[in-house]
Amino acid sequence: MWVYVGRRLLLAIPTLLGASIIVFAMVHLAPGDPIAAVMPAESSKAEIEATKRAYGFDKPLPVQYLVWLGRVAQGDLGKSIATRRPVILDVRDALANSLVLALSSSLLAFVLGVGLGLLAAFRQGRVLDKVASGVAVVGVSVPHYWAGIILIIVFSVQLNWLPAMGAANDPGLVPYLRHIALPTVALALIPLGVITRVVRSAALDILNQEFVLALRAKGLATRRVFTHVVKNSAPQILTVLGLQFGFQLGGSVLVESVFSWPGTGYLLNLAIFQRDIPVLQGVILVLATFFVLLNLAVDLLQTLVDPRIVRH
């Protein structure tokens, strides 16, 4: 098993390097000169050249990549072209906000999705199962940014219960919760659909196995059978939970932009429109690293929970 853990850790390195190449290449996909975009129109050629040199844009690409990678490895993501602040600071603040939002929406989706999925499996074919299937297909079909706008229309504009935009300016838990409530619900829709579906089918697979029949035949109470089923479908449930949390973290761009939630998605959006390439790269690189490490953790945790699974 430790061999497997070691192998899996090693395999993450080329993935991360590959991701870093893609992130680096994004600068050169961009049309237009990132320097020219931020320099005042009246700046001279020499000034532009000097700025280019200062940011290292005058060297050949592979050299630029290695220099950049070396800095990134030391936690230096460069300086924002627009604000001149170190990118790492902006990304850190935004990441904290995104993490809170991802955690709250994941929690909501996990609790509802696992509960609904398990109940649906135990009530196969009944009303509750139909409701769960409905939730599952609506969850994965609904454009979550539109759902966010609908939530604003209903709870902010019509009912005037909750704020529509931004994070709380006032200190305290209650204003904070009031601000995070709507984005949490909007962001939870997709994982709710996915989790309900996966949990239902995982539990059904277990329920149809012979040992469950044996448990029932020996007269075990349904509640105890339930425990067995949950235990046996745990690895699959764990995987989907981990993956969905990762998607939440990277996939919140649209929801954050609807609610002006000051997270990584909002920062990314801002960077795109200001053509602030270092920030764009920094956000994506940090999120991708998080995502890869999270997938790694899920894989390892899965092996820990169920040592039979040694995936390659």
């Binding site: 993935t15 079909s141 454009p143 990277g250 996939g251 649209l254 990314l268």
Partner: protein, 295 residues
Amino acid sequence: MAISTAVLQAEMAAATPMSYWRTVGWRLARDPTTLVAGGVLALIVLSAVLAPWLAPYDPAAGSIRLRLAPVGSPGHLLGTDEQGRDMLSRLLWGGRMTLIAGLTPVLVAFVLGSALGVLAGYIGGLVNTLIMRTMDIFYAFPAVLLAIAISGALGPGLANTVIALSIVFVPRVVRVAESATVQVQGLEYIAAARASGAGVGAIVRHHLLANVLGPILVFSSTQVSLSIILAAGLSFLGLGVTPPAAEWGLMLNTLRQSIYVNALVPALPGLAIFATSMAFNLLSDGMRDAMDIRG
């Protein structure tokens, strides 16, 4: 000899009372959800195709005096937008853009992904490692992030949206195509065909593709709804189709500011995206069940 063939045929006919596609059709006919989803989808696609003839107004022509007319206004069945343009006409025209922006990437991914995946699975070895490890790299990014990052770098426009989304979906199709190919290739009839002297081209065409394309097609169809949501989402962020064109995501974005004036009209473009993506999801679920494909 002749008798034994006849007996064999009779036995086979008894064992397989219906052809595969007839069975699929039989199952579909008993699945009202899938039929309704298919019907709704046909209507949406048809209305998008026929938009130039169906739309009562020019989707780009607005009137300052008629801004944000409510749903059900005389002459404007679904109201007007923030520039006084007819919503029904814009929704019809917008469907074309959204469907093109959402379907093209999946189509590209289907063609390119099948080719790369079958290649990787059939040749194996170094080619397989090279293709599959490259695809793995794209899995380091959540789909939404990858799409936004690439189109953010490329800049706005329909073509860039299609490129960005194709990059999201190709690796997914490659994975499915590769594993299906490896699976089919291990089956005995491929070895039998090879032993009976069939060439590489014939094996790939008649035996491999014939058995692999079905699962790939079904998988690709499950990706359409996500592709539509993402395509409209990119326009919603201002990264996709550019104004003044009508596109559902873009319409949602420009109408967002008007929710305080008129709550129903801004909700319509999103409802259209929702209905389309849900119809695609239900249809592909139903097709998968009817075609008895797992996964």
